[in-house]
């Protein structure tokens, strides 16, 4: 199946083409984003910390992303746990509805939240972005945590309970350590999604733009683009590091549970 392997490699080239260009232009000594390259510079990287609006937007985004990650992972734990362990009336429709943002166009989520917030006369700001991001991140967390909770043998918790632990200490001593890798990857992935999300932030952000909203504004000015490229390079590097940690955590979780790796985040 050499042609299939060849195709796979070509496909990876297609997937990585834009990302490979990112550092190339980030270090290119020209404001024109095109070949041929004109020379090497680290000027664009040094400009990043000297752009107060950019730094501010990074801070805003980080606060939003961390809060979103914590909130959506917490909600995800509740839903995944309820889904894996209990049966109750209306379970499937409820879980289905919670997962809906996964397939809903983001613009719909964004405008519908906007309409309600404006109708209620609530001011837009970081917290409104957090609300929207938590809504779209929770389904991803559930998808990740579902497999963590689903792989958990119910008799392990029964055994701990049988050996004298309470429900809560059973959760703390058995359940939590065994699903911890899933929780870590849910945190990291919801953090990454929130950090990168544009549409909802675009609609719901107040006077302080998030990083993607700030970048969106910069894309109109050609002279600002190289700094965007530099920032993009840093973001990509950061994402890769975070994702690698998430992947290692996931694999370790599987190894710890003595299971077999079947691959994949979702």
């Amino acid at each position: 199946m050499t042609w299939l392997r060849g195709y796979a490699v070509l496909y990876l080239v297609f997937l990585y083409a834009p990302i490979v260009l990112l550092p190339i232009f980030a270090f290119n000594d020209s404001t024109i984003i095109a070949f041929p390259l004109s020379g090497f510079t680290t000027q664009w990287f040094t400009e990043i910390p000297n752009t107060p609006a950019l730094v501010k937007s990074v801070q805003t985004s980080l606060i939003i992303a961390v809060t979103t990650a914590l909130l959506s992972t917490t909600l995800g734990i509740c839903a995944a746990r309820a889904g894996a362990k209990y049966s109750f009336p209306g379970k499937a429709p409820m879980l289905g509805f919670i997962m809906l943002p996964l397939v809903l166009p983001e613009i719909i989520v964004a405008v519908s939240l906007l309409v309600v917030l404006l109708a209620l006369g609530l001011p837009l700001g970081g917290w409104t972005v957090i609300l929207g991001h938590t809504l779209i991140c929770t389904p991803f967390c559930i998808a990740i945590l579902n497999s963590a909770f689903g792989n958990l043998d119910a008799s392990l918790e029964e055994a701990a309970f049988d050996l004298g632990e309470t429900r809560w200490s059973t959760f703390r001593l058995i359940t939590l350590p065994l699903v911890m890798p899933g929780i870590i990857s849910a945190l990291l992935i919801s953090f990454t999604i929130s950090l990168d999300e544009f549409i909802i932030a675009f609609f719901l952000t107040g006077t302080e733009p998030t990083l993607p909203v700030y970048l969106w504004g910069q894309l109109r000015f050609p002279q600002k683009i190289p700094v965007v490229m530099a920032l993009g390079t840093i973001l990509v590097a950061l994402s890769v590091i975070l994702l690698t940690i998430a992947e290692i955590a996931r694999r370790r979780g599987i190894a710890r549970a003595g299971g077999k790796d079947t691959g994949g985040f979702l």
Binding site: R5, A34, L75, D196, L219
Partner: protein
């Protein structure tokens, strides 16, 4: 364990995420629906129910054109993404050693997690008149003058979105392929079918659920994409989401924006249901 109060415990646990979704998804969606029957004069909302927005949406050619284009572009993106993704999913599932599968999936998912905005912008750089693709092809002597049909039109939107949604298509297909019991393929071979026919008669039908999931998961969000048409679409590549945004943030006509959003959701729902229905019938037809 603790079956006695299972229902109560389950409901207690599901309550926070369910209430969250109720307040921040169900209520807003209902609000959008309600808005679509109201009207707005500058900044004041007139709450008298009216169908004028829908009348206007269906009579104004621009809206119809944007809706149709959104559906066509989303359809093309879906087709391209799923067709391109299937061989990859097949390759990783059937021709990659089990220990290296997660590495491949990891490699496939990485680009997806890197800044969407910047990625789309880079496609503009790649596909532009003086872009990476044109300059490379010119340099290689493949073409004499830059290709213009690849930027600021629907083609560019399709290419960019096919890239953006690749993992969404690959993962569900991969999962459904992974679930196929390999002895079924051996059985098919044993019963006299060759590799190609085994693929067509066993592998492909069993992978249908994954393909269906991939199709829906690409089609539905694509129809509402905003960034890509705006950055690489040019005037003839704009889609309905751009108009919704304009109505809300520029024209201050939230009811019209809401109407367009409702119509777009309606179209997505109807098309998805038709697709699922046809697929069910096709599967049933095969079983009898």
């Amino acid at each position: 364990m603790f079956r006695n109060s299972e229902t109560a415990r389950g409901l207690t646990l599901i309550a926070p995420p369910a209430l969250y979704a109720l307040l921040l998804l169900a209520v807003p969606l209902l609000a959008i629906f309600a808005f679509s029957f109201w009207s707005q004069d500058f900044l004041t909302i007139d709450y008298t129910p009216t169908l004028n927005n829908y009348r206007e949406a269906f009579s104004e050619p621009l809206y119809a054109q944007l809706l149709l284009r959104s559906v066509l572009i989303a359809g093309a993106v879906t087709l391209a993404t799923v067709v391109l993704a299937f061989p990859i999913a097949y390759f990783v599932s059937f021709h990659v050693a089990p220990s290296r599968k997660s590495l491949w999936i990891f490699l496939i998912t990485i680009p997806f997690w890197t800044s969407y905005l910047i990625r789309v912008f880079l496609w503009k750089v790649i596909l532009g008149y003086n872009g990476v693709l044109n300059s490379s092809l010119l340099g290689l002597g493949v073409i004499d003058e830059p290709l213009t049909f690849i930027l600021y039109n629907a083609n560019a939107v399709v290419i960019t979105l096919a890239h953006a949604f690749a993992p969404f298509a690959i993962l569900p297909i991969f999962v459904s392929l992974e679930k196929i019991d390999r002895s079924l393929l051996e059985a098919s071979r044993d019963l006299g079918e060759n590799t190609v026919m085994t693929f067509l008669r066993v592998t492909l039908p069993l992978a249908v659920p994954g393909v269906v999931a991939a199709t829906l998961i690409v089609f539905i969000p694509t129809i509402g994409d905003y960034v890509t048409p705006r950055l690489v679409g040019g005037p003839n590549g704009l889609m309905i989401a751009n108009m919704i945004q304009t109505q809300f943030l520029k024209l201050n006509n939230a009811p019209m924006g809401a109407t367009l959003a409702v119509i777009a959701m309606g179209i997505v729902t109807v098309l998805s249901l038709i697709f699922i229905f046809l697929n069910r019938r096709w599967l049933k037809g095969r079983k009898t």
